[in-house]
Symmetry: C2
Subunit: 198 residues, 2 copies
């Protein structure tokens, strides 16, 4: 069965803990200890790990930290390096270019913008060079951080350039064709939950 979105969302959290343990030379880990660290249920952790790990955990011992890291990275498809780009070199775009929380092999390599002045920065380029760059370097993932009103037309342009996967931070629901994968990141939804949860 295909993995569920909720499990997918938990995997990076496991990965973070496992890498911390790795850096502390801890060899084995139990689902109980991972669960405790994250405030999850240990059965849930075990079920999640069962979806991705190639070797079973050992009763009484737990899992091998290094193996688990490899298995999760392979499953998440982040065991090979991957270049992604940002459209819109405003503050948010630049923040994402420098974000330290993405997995090691994910590199936000370039931002594109219509503003010539922004292109002084070594990693920011003019929007009109987008299509050539995407084709030449086989980029498939783009993050959109342009202002709301520009977002849909920029999105169309990005798709035209050959991008297949879009992560949208503009506060608008972008419409894309069926063959394009999109996630509309909704910060106001996150805030709504935070302000109102129990």
């Amino acid at each position: 069965m295909a993995i569920s979105v909720v499990t997918l969302e938990r995997l990076p959290k496991y990965l973070r803990i496992l890498k911390k343990m790795q850096s502390e030379n801890i060899n084995n880990v139990s689902s109980t200890s991972i669960a405790k660290e994250l405030g999850f249920n240990s059965i849930q952790v075990r079920k999640d790990l069962a979806c991705v790990s190639k070797t079973d955990g050992k009763p009484g011992v737990g899992f091998v930290v290094n193996d688990l890291i490899n298995d999760i990275e392979e499953f998440l498809n982040i065991n090979h390096s991957r270049d992604i780009i940002v459209i819109g070199a405003g503050r948010l775009g630049q923040a994402l270019m420098n974000y330290s929380g993405f997995e090691n092999k994910i590199n936000v390599v370039r931002a594109f913008d219509i503003d010539k002045n922004k292109c002084d920065n070594k990693k920011i380029f003019l929007m009109k060079t987008l299509k050539t760059y995407v084709k030449k370097n086989n980029i498939s993932v783009a993050i959109i951080t342009v202002p709301k009103d520009a977002a849909q037309s920029v999105c169309d342009e990005v798709i035209d350039s050959g991008i297949k996967v879009i992560w949208n931070f503009a506060p608008i629901n972008l419409k894309v064709p069926d063959n394009i994968r999109i996630k509309n990141e909704d910060l106001s939804a996150s805030l709504a939950v935070l302000l109102n949860s129990y």
Copy 2:
């Protein structure tokens, strides 16, 4: 019964559509049309709206746009203005200070940072002035955008200043006492879902 998190997350999306309609002088809206716009199921939309709207929709007609906006805003507790602050005036912190996607009444009024040089900006202040400001202005919500390694100690300091609700963007799971509400925003989890969903 308490509202579910998933419903809570959908409400801001409805609000966005409704406000767009309001600006276009559309008076009535059906759950079907909202659902279509967002790619949701119309029964789901109706159920969600039933949780928050004070007056029933009219069969054959739908809901009154203006009323729905008021009801959702009241429910989400964003019908009165609310000041929130940012801790860490890096690119992400500044991006959030200028983000246009939050609801009107939510104002990110100030950022705090340990770097004196950043405080040239009119809205950025030294960290050591945090506690006084929070107490004096009765601030209850803070966004943390400091580097990962500083995050937990900054978080402790923020709690000590009197903040009750924390929205953490640093890529680490912050630990807080039971009486503090926290959301660890996990961008690498979002990316994991995007790269691997179906």
